[in-house]
Symmetry: C2
Subunit: 205 residues, 2 copies
Amino acid sequence: MPKRVDHEERRTEIAEALVRVAGRRGLHAVGMRDVAAEAGVSLRLVQYYFQTKEKLLLYGLQHLAAGFGERVAARVRSAGENPGPRAMIEAMLLASLPTDEESRTFHLVYTSYAVLAVTDDALAAQPFMKNPEAAEDAVTALLQQAHEADLTRPGIDSRVEAISLLAMSAGLGTSILVGQRSPESAAAVLNHHLDRIFQDGGRDD
Amino acid sequence: MPKRVDHEERRTEIAEALVRVAGRRGLHAVGMRDVAAEAGVSLRLVQYYFQTKEKLLLYGLQHLAAGFGERVAARVRSAGENPGPRAMIEAMLLASLPTDEESRTFHLVYTSYAVLAVTDDALAAQPFMKNPEAAEDAVTALLQQAHEADLTRPGIDSRVEAISLLAMSAGLGTSILVGQRSPESAAAVLNHHLDRIFQDGGRDD
DNA sequence: ACGTTGATGATACGGCTGTACCATGACGGT
DNA sequence: ACCGTCATGGTACAGCCGTATCATCAACGT
């Protein structure tokens, strides 16, 4: 046989090509030929590793979500050795804002998928709304933990605040994406709200 | 000539057909033939009143935005004769949540347009990000007005709160759209945050 | 009365898209 | 050494989409 290729790696390369071209020209406009050209392979190859366009799109979504998860995790790690709950939440929320080109692409393509999922059953069945749910639980737990350590102002409902923060973050992200707001001002708004949830700076280390 | 038809009315009918089919099958999937069939006219007619698909899409967007504006205005009016700032803001925010089928369609199609606008120059040039800006100014003014009447809690920055509320509202709307959250819980979250901004109920009448 | 013009219909065309089919090197096992 | 199989290329096909063309009917101005 020829150089027995690592299928998973090849699929990843193609999926990344898909995301790149989708970020540049919009998800609705990507064809298999575009993906092939972007990945530097022939159309036949894309067909070979993904039999159908639908499977390619599904895999692209999974890859996108996984990459985003890693991004956020890395950002949280770089927030320090033992960060307080506030620093952790702040890192999570800021990591999901479309600041640099990579996260801009992520936001755009991910939103495109979300919009598609409303009218496409195959995408709707995909568990890519599991991610937000996990995020909500994580933020809720962090807020609860802060609450028990007396780091929050009184009268704070952890779950409601978590939902609000994530919804705000998503809404601000979209605003940045369409050019209505700058990343800096969005970050400032988020920080302002964190200030209203946490006592002083919310730092315990 | 034949029954000298009212062009603007005809264009409106066709645009509404466009929005309906876009709400059902997704904006990316609508073709001129679908619009024609939905409107009950021939393909040629759609071409006649809008020369090109791009013009049809642009007009559809304007129509959508105008309809949404009317919806919100009606909701605010029905909030009472002389509602307080809080009731007004509440009406505005709740009106933009996708509760019934009509507002669901609006949200979906409008978001589709927003996503398209990121990669399509013709749509990006369209002033449909003017609407959110106006909403931000309106809410800011209402909050300021409430602040001057001592209806708000201390330490409230009108503009920041307006931005937050609108971003939250948008984010919650998307959550509802993709089935992550119920309209009721979203409304509850919004109300919770209004409670944190306004003293007691914020009613001055 | 009639020609001009607005409104509508039917249909054809070129391009693009996803998919399928056929071909052909390149290696590994035996 | 050879055969099967993995990997890859090239290309054809059917369908759809936006647009353009040709044709027709109906009414208004003069």
